[in-house]
């Protein structure tokens, strides 16, 4: 924007007014927050307007995860507002969570007045210092005339390139000070210019390599979701054109529909046998918007040993970080796929017959039925609960969030996702307590949708306080707890690694979740018989307010299949082979040191 006279939008106002104005100008409709001394001027401005709705959470961590859920389900930035000191430190977990899962999250923090900074004032902390490693970028604004520009830049940085969390720390005196507000401008800073368009020569090379592949596989990730609906559409086109099998990371579920005929299921530590075996034995791997995380690769030196690898990612530091690739393509997934699909159409005569032997091999792996489990008439198997939940809700196109643990993996395995932006889970950081506030955020963004948090009995208690927020804001989220009385994944690892000594993984005093729901003014349901499950789930869906569903499941079920630590993709532990002895000996001394 030029600095000439007579521009629209430039006017004098207080810093606090600027915050609200900048939110409006950046298209923000909702923000999640918790007031406190150092943000009172901003709250006073929020009080005096109706354009931006504030959702009052019960803990700042909840605000962050709610904003993450909001962002993940809409593709827009999530916004949180917290006070200085403990408000900011409580935001650290969701900031790191958003950093690892590439979620656009704008966090505005209050700070003690500039004159008090460094004096150990009440509720002072070094917010930019603490959040520097857990944000994409952060700012301390000491001059009110820099505030508007900084806020716009914050939205720009959070939402472009590889998305991520940002923090804008605003001292209280800056909120009161008057200055000139400037509206958003494009390209606000010269040092930041993510590469969006992929190198065409590299894409041509990739097409040539893919066209001649005998045993190809597409491995897609959260980057496809982040790149927008168009990216998912292009991915589907590419799969259709090429006839290639496709698998996805936890974060990428829904980009390709689970009902699609080329779908192999999720890959990785708790992925399907066919997906992992296909990754191991493929000759060409096309990685789209994923980052070769350790949960995906298993043992690195035995990861897909015979394949040529193509990697599309917007972040150059993701390329060759864990796994060396042959053709790196830096760029936004949608942009690169657009070129790739266009070139494929123009140059490749698809010979899908050439892939028959590969698909036959995959069919053999698939026949192992690695997600199979034994149902039981007496107790609800957790996998069965997810299956029924899926069958009874799929017509509602539900949004699913999860906490972290066994239930999360069962949800990923047995709930089938047809669309992007419908699956919100904490992948990189593995944050217990994510699911409930995330569900709140999703419900605020989609008030008429069915939003379900598939939870565990341990995780749910980490941010249970947000039930109160859900009730206050009429957000009819459904908390579906697979209650096995254990921190199931911790226990599973203790069985695998520590001689079945179950150190502190059993919750001896569990709250009565039905009464807890009622205490919050929500609706409680308990079910412990497989025969009653369908009716109970239907009741949950029909209730028009928040529900806590205490689904009592088999206490000792474990999550399989599994690639034990230190093992390769072709060394999976399958459910029918997972005897006590196999479990006890699955991981050797070296693997024990890994996480």
């Amino acid at each position: 924007m030029s600095n000439g006279q007579n521009e629209t939008g430039r006017r004098e106002m207080t810093g606090a007014e600027m915050v609200v104005q900048a939110l409006k100008d950046n298209g923000v409709k909702h923000l999640f927050g918790y007031p406190g001394g150092a943000v009172l001027p901003i709250y006073d401005e929020i009080f005096q307007q109706d354009d931006v709705e504030h959702i009052l959470v019960r803990h700042e961590q909840g605000a962050g995860h709610a904003a993450e859920g909001y962002a993940r389900s809409t593709g827009k930035a999530g916004v949180m507002l917290v006070t200085s000191g403990p408000g900011a430190t409580n935001a650290v977990t969701p900031l790191q969570d958003a950093l690892m899962d590439s979620i656009p999250l704008v966090c505005i923090t209050g700070q003690v007045p500039t004159t008090l900074i460094g004096s150990d004032a009440f509720q002072e902390c070094d917010t930019v210092g603490i959040t520097r490693p857990c944000t994409k970028h952060n700012w301390l604004v000491k001059d009110v005339n820099e505030l508007a520009k900084t806020l716009h830049e914050a939205f720009h940085v959070a939402t472009t390139g590889r998305p991520g969390p940002v923090v804008v720390d605003i001292p209280k005196d800056v909120q009161f000070a008057r200055g000139i507000y400037t509206p958003p401008q494009t390209a606000p800073r010269t040092s930041y210019h993510p590469q969006v368009q992929g190198d065409l020569d590299r894409i041509k090379e990739a097409v040539a390599l893919l066209a001649n592949a005998k045993r190809p596989i597409i491995y897609s990730g959260g980057g496809v979701i982040n790149s927008g609906l168009e990216a998912s559409q292009l991915l589907r086109e590419l799969v259709e054109l090429s006839g290639f099998p496709i698998t996805s990371t936890l974060m990428g579920l829904g980009a390709y529909p689970a009902s699609g005929k080329n779908w192999l299921g999720m890959l990785g530590m708790h992925g399907t046998y066919e997906a992992n075996m296909a990754m191991h034995d493929c000759d060409v791997m096309l990685c789209i918007g994923a980052r070769f995380d350790d949960r995906i690769t298993g043992r690195l030196d035995a990861f897909s040993p015979g394949s040529k690898k193509i990697h599309i990612d917007i972040d150059p530091s993701s390329i060759n970080k864990n796994v060396r690739v042959d053709i790196p393509i830096i760029g936004d997934v949608a942009h690169v796929l657009e070129d790739l699909v266009r070139l494929w159409r123009a140059t490749v005569k698809a010979d899908k017959k050439a892939l028959y032997p590969w698909w036959e091999q995959i069919a053999k792996w698939r026949a192992r039925d690695s997600l199979a489990f034994k149902t039981n008439d007496e107790v609800i198997m957790p996998q069965y609960a997810i299956e029924r939940l899926y069958e009874l809700t799929k017509h509602r196109d539900p949004y699913i969030t999860t906490e972290v643990g066994q239930h999360q993996m069962w949800a990923a395995q047995h709930f089938h996702f047809e669309k992007p932006h419908h699956w919100m889970t904490s992948g990189g950081l593995g944050t217990m307590g994510y699911g409930l506030p995330a569900a709140l955020g999703v419900q605020i963004a989609h008030p008429d949708a069915l939003v379900i948090d598939i939870a565990g009995d341990a995780s749910i208690q980490m941010c249970i306080q947000e039930m109160s927020a859900a009730v206050q804001f009429d957000a009819p989220i459904k908390i579906f707890i697979l209650n096995n009385q254990y921190m199931g994944m911790v226990r599973q690892w203790q069985q695998l690694l520590h001689g079945n000594r179950l150190s502190h993984s059993y919750t001896e005093a569990m709250p009565d979740f039905v009464k807890l729901a009622e205490a919050y003014g929500a609706h409680g349901i308990r079910c412990d018989k497989p025969a009653d499950l369908d009716d109970a789930i239907n009741e949950m869906i029909s209730v028009k307010k928040p529900v806590i569903f205490d689904c009592r499941v088999a206490t000792l079920a474990n999550c399989f299949p599994m690639i034990p630590s230190g093992k390769a993709h072709n060394e999976m532990l399958l459910p029918d082979e997972a005897t006590d002895e196999a479990v006890a000996n699955a991981i050797d001394a070296k693997g024990r040191e890994l996480v």
């Binding site: 520097r132 970028h137 952060n138 040993p305 150059p316």
Partner: protein, 190 residues
């Protein structure tokens, strides 16, 4: 992941990891704004990379640009990661691995110089010897009384190391070093 642990035998191609750690000098052009140095240093400590030497100063006042010179060590794979990780930092404009650039330009090594202030106290023969050696090293005397000298010496790191080692038995009191300043030969900028 710790960079040092990364370069083990995890080969994706059949051959083993044969890369050895190398010492490279990186030039990093950044916006001179609060916290920018902390971002760069935090990246190194947070990801387990080494810093052997670090020099920073504003070099283009009108654009508020600072140039950070970092001497670091790692396998070529790790050095490439360091470069990409630095480039992710929002106020970072450019990162140039001077050793890689030198190779591209067909040169042996980048130019690297360091300045040190070396205080030596003593009388008699030791004092005379210190002054004589300083002269041989082209170190300047910038402060002196009858009991001490402060030498200013500029040159390659190895020369400064050697000078300090020689001064040790001659009454070395304290040393201050600037760290390495570096650029590539030839007419091109970074």
């Amino acid at each position: 992941m710790n960079a040092q642990l990364q370069a083990t035998g995890s080969a994706y191609f059949i051959s083993k990891e044969t890369q050895r750690p190398e010492i490279h000098t990186l030039s990093v052009l950044v916006d001179n704004e609060p916290g920018v140095l902390a971002r760069v240093i935090g990246l190194f400590s947070g990801r387990g990379y080494n810093i052997e030497s670090l020099t920073v100063s504003e070099t283009e006042h009108e654009k508020h640009l600072s140039r950070i010179t970092i001497v670091t060590s790692g396998t070529p794979h790790v050095l490439e990661q360091i470069k990409h990780q630095l480039e992710r930092i929002v106020p970072v404009h450019r990162v140039v691995d001077l050793a890689v650039r030198a190779a591209e330009l067909g040169q042996d090594r980048p130019l690297e110089r360091e300045l040190a202030l070396v205080k030596v106290a003593g009388t008699g023969d030791a004092r005379v010897e210190a002054l004589r050696l300083a002269d041989a090293f082209r170190a300047k005397v910038i402060d002196a009384n009858t009991e001490h000298f402060i030498f200013e010496i500029t040159g390659k790191v190895s020369k400064i190391e050697q000078f300090i080692a020689i001064m040790k038995p001659l009454g070395l009191v304290e040393i201050c070093r600037t760290g390495v300043a570096a650029m590539n030969r030839g007419p091109q900028g970074m």
